[in-house]
Amino acid sequence: MRPVTAGAFRLLVRGTASLVLLAAGAVPAVAKEVEDPGFFHLERLNILFHLVLFAFLFFLCIRLAAGGRKFFIRKIAGLEAVEEAVGRSTEMGKAVLYVPGIDDVNNIQTIYSMIILNHVAKMVARYETPLIVPICRPFVVPLAEETVKQAYLDVGSPDAFNANNIRYLSEEQFAFTAGVDGIMLREKPAANLYLGSFFAESLILAETGFQTGAIQIAGTANVHQLPFFVVACDYTLMGEEFFAASAYLSEEPKLIGTLKGTDLMKIYLLVLLIVGVLLETFGVTGLSTWMEPR
């Protein structure tokens, strides 16, 4: 890992240097030359600049995080809601249902969901509350099993782990949905957590869970499904929040650093937007002309 990163950084430095050189002799907006594109698309310098800036920011943060720097990340209300829901469930002595989405392991959301699953498993392990994890993809089964088992081991109650509660239902979307609905109706879990990549089944799951009176918390980066979760769940982790929650829990430098780097970029954006809007309002259009991708 180290040499690669170092190499990347050297490349970055060199990239930045050539950028400065190019900028020094930059001409504004060359006309689109089709026949001879030349050596470098000067008109795309604005894009390159932002790419390099962003890459610099978040690699720096990853470095710092790996070096042991503690970054501040605000409390994420959705995570507190998860803890509350699991707490209520254990008090009532009822099961917790955790659906890690219906996508395969190659979807990053499934991986992030495992981080939260680990957290939830640790909470329930202490109280010996059953944790039911229905799964839609065969490849996710070993991953979920490992995650839950490890969590039980970490809190010192490996015997409480029950492999039968990691349930592979079906790879077909609606067959899986019917299966989860069945679990909700039969076993009446007191907390339903839907965290991962969901599609059209989101509203069916949330509806059944609502009818059984469970506390429901959802989280997904599939923006098109958020409306259906928002209206039927008690709390919803929306888009980036879902990733941030996982990064927060994982304490992994790679994830924390990326989150922090993105935040720094957002500060830059907020400033850029405010300055840009003021300029535009007073009729200065230079910045927006330069920003235009070509």
Binding site: F40, H41, V230, V231
Partner: protein, 235 residues
């Protein structure tokens, strides 16, 4: 060999894709890489189909739960592959030019065919099965969602907070304002729904787009710099 080579391939290919955007000279190389990626993506999809076949054959041989359904699945698959892949393959390998066809008769007042047996274009048996099996089934699966959305609207769309209230109001204005009926109710409604779409909706969607773009760029950069290796799996 097991991790280093694939990582190196990923990085080289990834960098070419990025650099060609800025440096026109890189296009020649990235072009051939894209052609390879096209083939690789198709083969990966073929692999997915092969996997479905494998899993279901296993299910049948082990007499797993629902194995009888798997036979239906395999039969449907074999039939389509025979018409769409095996026949064309045989014809091109042995240079058979005659067009094999069936049908061409009348039954119950409807003329059927003749349908060509090999190939996928209109007028083949393959295409008929696509039109009258694949199309209705897939379309119906999506049509079911209209009913689920109705039931969810009634049984779980609860306006329990200001936020849910805003969502509900926007949804209602859009649902009514977008269809001709909206204008009959109040002629300002379509304009209001247009405004919601292109101002507040756009503001939030734009913020989400920008956030998602930053996330995607970060992930991409981590991959092509070799920091992100999850895709290589364990071992």
């Amino acid at each position: 060999m097991r991790r280093e080579v694939p990582l190196l391939i990923t990085m080289i290919v990834g960098w070419f894709m990025v650099l060609e955007f800025f440096f026109p000279q890189a296009e020649k190389w990235s072009s051939e890489l894209q052609n390879w990626a096209i083939i690789m993506t198709a083969l990966a999809s073929v692999l997915g189909v092969a996997n479905v076949a494998r899993i279901n054959m296993l299910k049948v041989s082990r007499r797993d739960r629902d194995w009888r359904y798997s036979i239906v699945l395999l039969a449907g698959m074999a039939f389509m592959v025979l018409l769409g892949t095996v026949f064309p393959m045989v014809r091109s390998l042995f240079h058979i030019d005659s067009s094999w066809a069936i049908g061409g008769g009348e039954f119950m007042g409807v003329t059927y065919g003749p349908y060509r047996l090999s190939g996928v274009a209109a007028g083949t048996v393959f295409n008929q099965f696509y039109d009258f099996m694949f199309v209705p089934m897939q379309a119906t699966m999506f049509a079911l969602l209209a009913f689920f959305i109705a039931s969810a609207a009634y049984r779980s769309f609860r306006i329990r907070s200001v936020e849910a209230g805003l969502l509900a109001i926007a949804a209602v204005v859009i649902m009514i304002g977008r269809v001709p009926l909206g204008r009959e109710i109040w002629h300002g409604l379509p304009e209001i729904s247009d405004w919601i779409m292109s101002v507040p909706n756009l503001a939030a969607k734009r913020a989400i787009l920008i956030g998602a773009a930053l996330g995607a760029i970060a992930t991409g950069l981590k991959v092509i710099m070799g920091i992100e290796r999850n895709f290589l799996g364990g071992d």
